[in-house]
Every structure is written in structure tokens, then in C-alpha cells.
Amino acid sequence: MLIKRPRGWELPESAATRETAFIDRRRVLAGLGLGGAILAAPALFDLRRMNGERAAQGGAQENPVGKAFYPAPRSAAYQLDRPLTDEKLTTTYNNFYEFGSHKQIAPAAQALPLKPWAVKIDGLVERPMTLDIDDLFKQLPLEERLYRHRCVEAWSMAVPWTGFPMRAFVALARPMSGAKFVRMESFQNPDVAPGQKQAWYPWPYVEGLTIEEATNELAFLATGIYGRPAPKQNGAPLRLVVPWKYGFKSAKSIVRFTFTDRRPMSFWERIQPAEYGFWANVNPNVPHARWSQATEMPLGTQKRIPTMLYNGYGPFVAHLYPESNDRRFFM
């Protein structure tokens, strides 16, 4: 008598999946694959084109704006307690949200055209005007200053900026007595700045200072770095430098200054007010919503050092914030 013992892999015919069912499933999978390919094709093509452009550029383009005015004399009033950050690090590790959320935005930033570059001054001023960036160079003498820079992400650097005191720029703009704040607006050009294609963000990038902050001797409008015109990724041709505040306050590639009696709503404040406030003064005792601000890592080192109140610039700016226990000033 034949005894048939079914093996583990043997199934009765009734248990087998119908051919139409698995063919349908293959069709669904094929459809998913095809659909994905169709969806991604333009993007992949764009990515390849972009990478090709970057490769063709072979590095950062030179900023020609005001080249004849460099190098400028160094001010002896601002000394550093640490060595200058290596120029290569300063120019290749950048936050510039218009070009992305990562640090290697330098290649993409080269698409930003710097000439012509008009700077508009309006709002509560005696005479609204639009100046070409070259006119600013002619009217405001350049100087070099060594400043510490503290990013809200808890890294830092020490940089030789070239530019002019914002106080001198405010005097040039001649604000009326009712002006309490300066609103600064960065460029807006989604054709060259891929981040601005995300239209849900409140572009352009906006930052603001009180008049007292803008006319403080530390507030600086930088045009250059390391003794020459600043690369585009560092905010060329004109950027704010306020070293006692977190770096995101220092707006880059500014095209407009508006003097106003109302506190401006800054870009990050509009997006995440609980994490990035208007004042944003450096304070090691007030943590960010997601990390400590007690220490920082200078670029190019692997060690953390204590962060200083107002990034060490308290003697220059502490009087601006008499209510120093108010945490609002440090967010």
C-alpha cells in the first residue's frame, strides 16, 4: 500500500493563490514602481543638472563687490580670547536657509547674483532712498573687527569681519524720532535660492533690532571677511553682525532697511517663536527648547568650552537690557 506523507512545502491545489491574484499584485507593484519613477524623474534630472553645475563651478566664485577697498585697517578695540577660526571652515560650514538646511550650502550659494545690488532705505526716515552697494562703499569707510560668533546650535567661531559700524549706516539713513526699530530684509529670488521655492515659509528672511541695539558700537554691517570681500555663502554683499546675539539674528545678503515704530516679526520668530525669539541674546543659563546653551564647540576643535553671557560682550551691551532676569531677552 502506498502511503503518501506530504512534505512541509506541499499544499493542496485549493490552497494555492489564484494566478489572477498574484498577477494583479505584480501589476500593483509594477504600477508603484513606474509611478515612483515618473514622480521622481524630473527631480532626479534636476538633481543631476544641479550636481553638474556644481562640479563645473569647481568652487566658490569671487565676490567682486568693493574689491578695491580691501584690506581695511583693523580696529584695536575688539580683541579675541581665542585663535581665529580657519578660513576654510568659516567659508564651508554655513547656515543660509535660503539655500537649504544643511551646512554645505556654499556651492548652491554661488548662484546668487551680486551685481547690481540695491539697498533700499525706507519707513520712518527723513528721505527714503535706494543706494547701490558701491555707493555705500564710497560713503562709509571700511574697518576690520575681530568678533566671536555664537550659533544657536551651540557651535562658535572667531572671525575677522570687514565692514562699517551700523551706527554710521543709521546716521546715513537719518531716521525720524519716532523710529524705534530697524527691520532688515534679505534678498528674495526663488530662481537662485532653492529654499525659497518652499513657498509655505514666510520669505524673505527678516530680522530686526531696536534703534538702541542698531546704534550700539558693536553692531556691524559686514561686507568682507579675512581681509577680502565676503563669499556669497557668508552673506555677501552686505550682512548684519551682532556678536552678542545668536547667529540667526545676523541677517545675510540684506536688500532693505525699514525704520519703524513697531517691533518687526522676524523670520524664525514667525515660524517657531518658542525656540527663536526676537531678542536672542546669548545666555548660557537659558537653554534652547531642545538643547543646553551652557557650552559651545569652536569650529575646528573637538572640545566644548563654556559659553559667556552676551557671548562675552556684556560690557558693551548689558545696559541695553536692564531687566536681565527676564528670560524673554535670551530667547
Binding site: 514622480l39 550636481n51 521655492k197
Partner: protein, 119 residues
């Protein structure tokens, strides 16, 4: 091979992504996405009817309105720790699509996985 092994194998198939039960779950999710897409296109048309201007809300816009912190964080994670190009242009391209087309397309694909009753 012992019969018990075959039974275990069958049970493990039931829990896989392609088991009828899993397919039903995916299909239900797909139907849900289709409903949201329908709601979205209805909203877009209602706005068009009242303003005369058609502007379809994009997936990115909705994400921004609902939870901007997670949108911002996701971009940072993708661009800093995976690849900048994955976010922009690939994911940005999808996020710029009208919400109804993105969710509707995905919903139809998932709903197609629903096993027929005859099975």
C-alpha cells in the same frame, strides 16, 4: 519537514505586509487618504467659489500650518544626515503638489490593494 513548521510558516505569512489582513489595513488607509483628498479639493473649490481665484493647498503648506516644527526638523534631518538632494528637489517636488493629488494618488494605489470578496 515536520508539519508544525509549515503551520508556523503560514502564521508568519499572515502577519506579513502582503497577507490579506495587512492588505485590508493598507486599503483602509488608502480609502482614508482618498477621503482627505476629497475634503481638500472640496475646500479648494469652495475658496475658488468665494474668491474667484483657484489656489490648491499644497502638502507642504498643510504641513507648515499643522506642525511647522516637525516640517523644519524633518528637512534638517534629511539634508544634514541623509542627503541634501533627497529633500530638495525630490521631497520638495512632492510637497509642492496640490494636497488632493498627492493624497488622492497615494490613496488610490493603496485602495487597489483591497482583496476581492471572492478571496
Amino acid at each position: 519537514m515536520p508539519v508544525g513548521t509549515s503551520a508556523r510558516s503560514q502564521r508568519s505569512d499572515e502577519g506579513s505586509a502582503w497577507s490579506p489582513r495587512s492588505l485590508r489595513i493598507w486599503a483602509t488607509v488608502g480609502l482614508g487618504l482618498c477621503l482627505i483628498a476629497f475634503g481638500s479639493v472640496t475646500y479648494d473649490l469652495a475658496v475658488y467659489a468665494s474668491t474667484g481665484h483657484y489656489h490648491a493647498i499644497s502638502a507642504g503648506q498643510l504641513w507648515f500650518e499643522l506642525h511647522v516644527a516637525s516640517l523644519n526638523l524633518t528637512q534638517a534631518i534629511v539634508q544634514r544626515y541623509i542627503h541634501p538632494g533627497l529633500w530638495d528637489p525630490i521631497l520638495v517636488l512632492l510637497l509642492k503638489w496640490p494636497l488632493w493629488s498627492l493624497l488622492g494618488g497615494l490613496g488610490v494605489i493603496l485602495a487597489a490593494l483591497l482583496p476581492s470578496r471572492s478571496k
